[in-house]
């Protein structure tokens, strides 16, 4: 590869799960690494302008983030992530991500740095990073060191999040679990709005991806033996683990998500004895509809706890 100094990471999709791992890995190899800025309406509009109509909101957002990085770095990191097992795959957009980005931005001739892994290759995360590092011309030793250090930090970060979330469970406020894909929940424009609404209502938000991943994954096999998507596994498993510990669950999906449309319906049926709200986010800029839905939901939780509306005495 020709001289790469600065690597850009679009702040979308799996960056909300592995972004910091990528960044520290590349930095460990001696590169400068930048993220695109936090999502906002302009980034979404830019991405929407380049996407086909039928694709999902997070993917449109991702394209906007790619555009933010064009001209600001030497290469943009767009991995092809298939998954490591047949029952722990990613959705097709991830499997096709570098091809989609390369073709959509053909005119701009974006330089893409990629690595590819798929469940039928029987590979491991470490091997994937090794391949990526070697492709950049680094030695095996350098790559292994960069990976293990970045991985260790990622694990610590995750542990801290899990701990902080366990503390939140002791909160006196109304505790609402947001169940969804990390790149929807933590995106400033999509999930960020929900969190803001919840806080204005005096509630606290908890997240399914701040639950221990291994435990969640394990629990998900009780939920479904054959469900193929890892993100939905972690989300459903975490929801099942948390359902008795929170006051209510909001299942958040970004329109139109294929896996969610199948899984969330099933999830709602499995959640008994806890208030559940099924919420689909779309590109509408107004937030009035969301506020009404969230406020109604919080009311249900609170008046139930209070034992009534006070209108039947």
């Amino acid at each position: 590869m020709e001289r790469i100094q600065k690597i850009g990471i679009p702040r979308g999709l799996m960056a909300y799960r592995s972004g910091m791992l990528w960044k520290e890995f590349f930095e460990g190899l001696g590169y400068e690494c930048i993220f695109s800025p936090e999502s906002d309406r302009r980034i979404l509009e830019k991405g929407t302008g380049r996407a086909i109509d039928e694709t999902c909101l997070p993917f449109k957002m991702y394209l906007g983030h790619v555009m933010e990085l064009i001209g600001k770095c030497d290469t943009i990191f767009v991995p092809r992530t298939g998954g490591y097992r047949t029952t722990e795959k990613m959705c097709t957009r991830y499997e096709a991500l570098p091809d989609l980005v390369r073709n959509i931005f053909r005119d701009e001739q974006v330089n893409i740095l990629t690595v590819s892994y798929d469940w039928y290759n029987r590979t491991t995360e470490e091997k994937v990073y090794l391949e990526l590092g070697l492709s950049l011309g680094k030695t095996k030793k350098q790559v292994k060191k960069a990976y293990s250090s970045a991985k260790k930090h990622q694990e610590t970060r995750q542990k801290n999040r899990e701990k902080a979330q366990l503390k939140l469970l002791e909160s006196e406020k109304t505790r609402v679990l947001l169940a969804g894909h990390p790149y929807v929940l933590h995106d400033a424009y999509m999930g960020g709005e929900l969190v803001r609404i919840l806080e204005n209502l005096g509630a606290v938000a908890l997240y399914t991806d701040y639950v221990n991943r291994e435990n969640a994954l394990k629990r998900s096999y009780e939920f479904s033996r054959i469900m193929p998507w890892i993100i939905n596994r972690e989300m459903t498993g975490a929801t099942m683990l948390m359902k008795k510990k929170v006051d209510g669950i909001v299942i958040v999906s970004a329109y139109p998500c294929g896996p969610d449309s199948l899984v969330n319906d099933m999830l709602v049926r499995r959640l008994k004895d806890v208030p559940v709200l099924n919420l689909t986010l779309d590109a509408q800029s107004g937030t009035a509809g969301l506020e009404t839905r969230m406020e109604s939901f919080i009311d249900i939780i609170r008046y139930q706890k209070a034992g009534g509306y006070g209108n039947q005495n």
């Binding site: 803001r196 406020e295 109604s296 009311d299 008046y303 139930q304 009534g308 209108n311």
Partner: protein
Amino acid sequence: MKRKAYLGIDIGSISTKGVIIDENNKILAECYLWTEGNPTEATKKVLLSLKEQFDPERYRIVSSGTTGSARKLVGSMIGAKMVKNEITAHAVGTTTLHPDVRTILEIGGQDSKIICVENGVAVDYAMNTLCAAGTGAFLSSQAHRLGVEVEEFGEIALRAAKAAPIAARCTVFAESDLVHKLQVGCPKEEIIAGLCKAVAGNYLNNVAKGKKIVPPVVFQGGVSKNAGVVRMFEEELGMPVLVDENGHLMGAFGIAVLAKESQKEGEFSFDVADMEFRTREVTCGKCANHCEIICVYRDGELIDSWGNRCDNGAIKSR
């Protein structure tokens, strides 16, 4: 000493409703009219009508509440003590009058909802999403096409021997279905009965999807005045469906009850009906989100604003 009274206003996208109740939840005054895209004007008209029915010698309004899609706007306009979403308002209104209700079906002008109730409190709800198929607005536009008044729909539907099959999943499909049925000479009353059936079917398959409908069932909202839809619901559900004579006022009634229960009292004056209210939409330029901020002015003075996603866009009233 004057007795206490409470005002509730429900401002929907199609209609605006207002009631005044006494301490025993008895309705002292009521009004129902079209919003016509102008919630502040509609509220003023509602207030004027309520004022005429109201006896200020015997009662005084000590608290007020607003609900419906323009609840914030009208709430700051009349200085409401209670501003709440329509789900809670409807649940409170209905459980006040029908304490044993288990399922509330609601079809309004542009939205529809289902509320599941246990022990007098809502436990679950669902609202229609983006699409307004199968709501009052849909029935109105089809009535227009058929050249009959939508108010006559129920009566005509009940006369039909059978209901013509019409797809109501989408308004566009329903319209082409309806045109087709007219072309092949299907009697008008069967088409109207078919539309009523389609509304009930669409509701049960979409809004009420996955919800357990347990009796007693109360049906309200503007469309509940359509006896044809009521009968189709009863046939589909195989259980009686109760329509309260004040079903169209339930949101306003509920929010009035909530204002009363809140025990937050504050002066209310009918004078607001004579003031000038103006709203202005400002696009915030402080960041790339370009939030649309709604500013409300009373006699030229800014009294409230909302719509900003972050504090940068906060517009402070003086």
